[in-house]
């Protein structure tokens, strides 16, 4: 799932924690095998291999549900949340520390566009060769929620699933109003800039500090704008959102990161979810401050 994953739980009398943990872990692995774009055997790879071949790939209810959710997020964000934008990573190699030429980016832009994707509840098809669907924008959050559901089903009433910062809480720790979650300082790797309390529900963070590229003092986010093919540089440095579902928290955070600063703050305010955002001056904004 790309990053450290942790599971914290308080055991109840009579509940077999090992069985609950095994079920949650198995659920996360199931989703990774199904949706990882790095695995040839995954459904994602199958869909991507079929791009432009003329043959749609059949999908199950769960995948159709995720596509439907992605469609809503795309519509509600005026195209900022786009599962096809992952293809831009071919130009952006965050490890090499090199900025791509505009021509390289421009060559990829015709492959980006959720509106091109042909999908319904039974199948999905990418009409242009080399187009790619990347569930990375929602599956980690969804996996956190799914693992939490498994824990609940197995009688666990207090647990926190943490998939590299995407969290889903089952209940609260004994005697506390929520789970203490440290929000990472954008510049100091192991320090927290703030601490928030997560009650039952989901929390997701998105930030430039993860896998970022810095050239000429300009920080390039790993979150690429689907319309320009470039990272948003005038926006937030990091944002954390809480929602009933980690899935909703995650896409809200992603959308906020892709908006210019003022617009992002206004959008988060209007959304009505608890949030915390950090701007380029390392100033904190939001209702969780």
């Amino acid at each position: 799932m790309g990053g450290p994953c942790r599971l914290r739980l308080e055991t109840n009398e009579g509940v077999d924690a090992t069985v609950a943990i095994a079920a949650a872990t198995e659920e996360i692995q199931r989703l990774e095998h199904k949706y990882s774009r790095y695995l040839d055997s995954s459904l994602t790879s199958k869909i991507n291999r079929a791009a432009g071949t003329g043959t749609p790939v059949s999908i199950d209810d769960e995948t159709a549900g995720l596509l439907n959710y992605a469609n809503t997020a795309w519509r509600e964000s005026d195209g900022l949340f786009d599962l096809t934008s992952g293809v831009l990573r071919r130009a952006w190699d965050f490890k090499s520390g090199r900025c791509p030429e505009q021509s390289e980016v421009a060559a990829l832009l015709p492959l980006v566009g959720w509106e091109l994707v042909q999908w319904d509840i039974n199948s999905v098809y990418l009409p242009r060769p080399r187009m790619e669907l990347d569930f990375g924008g929602c599956v980690k959050e969804y996996a956190a929620d799914s693992a939490a559901v498994q824990l609940r089903r197995h009688g666990v009433s207090s647990a926190l699933v943490d998939l590299a910062g995407d969290m889903a809480a089952v209940g609260t720790p004994a005697g506390l109003e929520g789970w203490p979650v440290g929000i990472r300082h954008p510049e100091k790797k192991d320090a927290a800039i703030a601490q928030v309390w997560l009650p039952e529900g989901g929390l997701a963070s998105s930030g430039d500090y993860e896998r970022c590229l810095e050239i000429d003092n300009q920080r390039y986010s790993h979150i690429l704008h689907p319309l320009t093919g470039w990272p948003t540089t005038q926006g937030l440095v990091a944002v954390t959102v809480m929602a009933q579902q980690c899935l909703v928290a995650g896409s809200s955070a992603t959308i906020a990161m892709l908006k210019p600063l003022d617009e992002a703050l206004q959008w988060l305010n209007e959304l009505g979810l608890p949030w915390l955002a950090i701007d380029g001056e390392l100033e904190c904004h939001g209702s969780l401050r």
Binding site: E13, T72, E76, S146, H154, G155, Q244, L271
Partner: protein, 384 residues
């Protein structure tokens, strides 16, 4: 937060997310996820009959001890199987007939402590779950010294497209054999049979996010030896047609963390019996693991057209059985349920009292009316 105040974007995201199966919780039309096993012990004990109501002074009446076992298990993706077994041990005396001494009110003559019987019932139900409902097939076999019953039942449900309404139906038929062997009293038959066929249709409707309502109509046809073999003055028609009209309501109160159950049933048959039953229960949660449920029930019935305390044995049909007399019954009790991880414990007790004057129908008051206690303890385990 009021629904209308919510940001439209958040509303759109949340509702799309919640369409994903994992967020929808347990659906009624999915097999149970885990195997569940339960055992239970119950006791039913009738109050002694009062001296003023019986010849030969007060007498101990009936009691039943029951042990139950239940297992419900998922089988493959779309099936479940349930097995129910009950063992009952019955003993005590029951009214034999009602007699009268000039100048006194009628009194019951008890059968003496002569009844001692055991009953074993085995019931299996297999259920298939489809997209918009489920269907079950049930076979039940019950055996006691003097009685044997074989029954088969089919039921099915179908949800409307929007899932707001569920239509249900059930049919059943039973084939019973009576071979009186009990006690020293002469019996009304040496061997007889009776058949029972029944049909039910119901509609359940979601009223709001916290309320459900249900309506149902049933028809039952009984044919064969419907007379009580052990009652001295009992001769009943060999056919009986019964109708019921029922409704139920469930409402959850978030502030109190409790659910209110109200059920009402109207019953009518061609023996001229009519009855009303009202059940009210309050399921009060305490924390996540404990539920305490006080409940009350009121029942009233009219008498059968051939009922009389002093049966006219010249008539074509007659009965002095208190169960066919007009009376009212009031019962109350409490259930307690506590979860301990995969275990849960249930305790319950009920007090049932009858009186000729508590009913809404006029009729002769039978001296044989029964009051009883019922209590039980159960233990369940879920294999998660």
């Amino acid at each position: 937060m009021a629904r209308d105040d919510r940001n439209p974007t958040l509303l759109a995201l949340t509702s799309s997310a919640l369409l994903l199966p994992i967020y929808q919780g347990a659906s009624a039309d999915a097999p149970p996820e885990f195997t569940e096993v339960g055992v239970r012990y119950s006791r039913y004990k009738e109050d002694d009959i009062l001296g003023r109501n019986a010849f030969g002074g007060g007498s101990e009446r009936y009691k039943i001890d029951v042990a139950q076992f239940r297992m419900l298990a998922p089988v493959a993706d779309d099936w479940s199987f349930a097995l129910d077994v009950a063992w009952e041990d019955m003993s005590g005396a029951s009214p034999w007939f009602v007699g009268e001494v000039a100048g006194q009110s009628p009194k019951v003559i008890m059968s003496g402590a002569s009844i001692e019987d055991t009953r074993t019932e085995v019931s299996g139900t297999t259920r298939y779950y489809y997209d918009r409902g489920n269907a079950g097939l049930n076979l039940t076999y019950s055996d006691e010294d003097d009685y044997e019953s074989k029954a088969i039942a089919l039921d099915g449900s179908l949800n409307s497209e929007d899932g707001m309404t569920t239509y249900s139906a059930a049919i059943s038929t039973a084939d019973d054999h009576i071979d009186p062997t009990q006690g020293s009293v002469p019996t009304n038959t040496l061997s007889a049979t009776k058949d029972v066929s029944s049909a039910w249709v119901g509609v359940t409707r979601i009223v709001s996010q916290r309320a459900l309502v249900r309506f149902g109509v049933s028809y039952t046809y009984r044919e064969g030896f419907l007379t009580d073999p052990y009652k001295f003055k009992d001769r009943r028609p060999d056919e009986r047609k019964e109708w019921t009209l029922g409704t139920g309501y469930r409402h959850f109160f978030e502030e109190q963390n409790a659910a209110l159950h109200i059920d009402y049933r109207y019953f009518s048959d061609d023996w001229d019996i009519e009855s009303h039953t009202v059940d009210v229960a309050w399921y009060q949660n305490f924390g996540q693991d404990t539920v305490v449920t006080p409940f009350i029930r009121y029942y009233t019935q009219s008498e059968a057209e051939f009922f009389s305390n002093l049966a006219d044995e010249e008539a074509r049909y007659f009965a002095d059985d208190y169960r066919l007399s007009a009376f009212g019954a009031f019962s109350y009790g409490v259930r307690l349920s506590h979860d301990l991880g995969n275990w849960s414990v249930n305790l319950d007790a009920e007090r049932y009292r009858t009186d000729g004057s508590w009913g809404v129908y006029n009729g002769e008051v039978s001296p044989g009316l029964v009051d009883f206690w019922r209590y039980g303890v159960g233990l369940n385990y879920v294999f998660r």
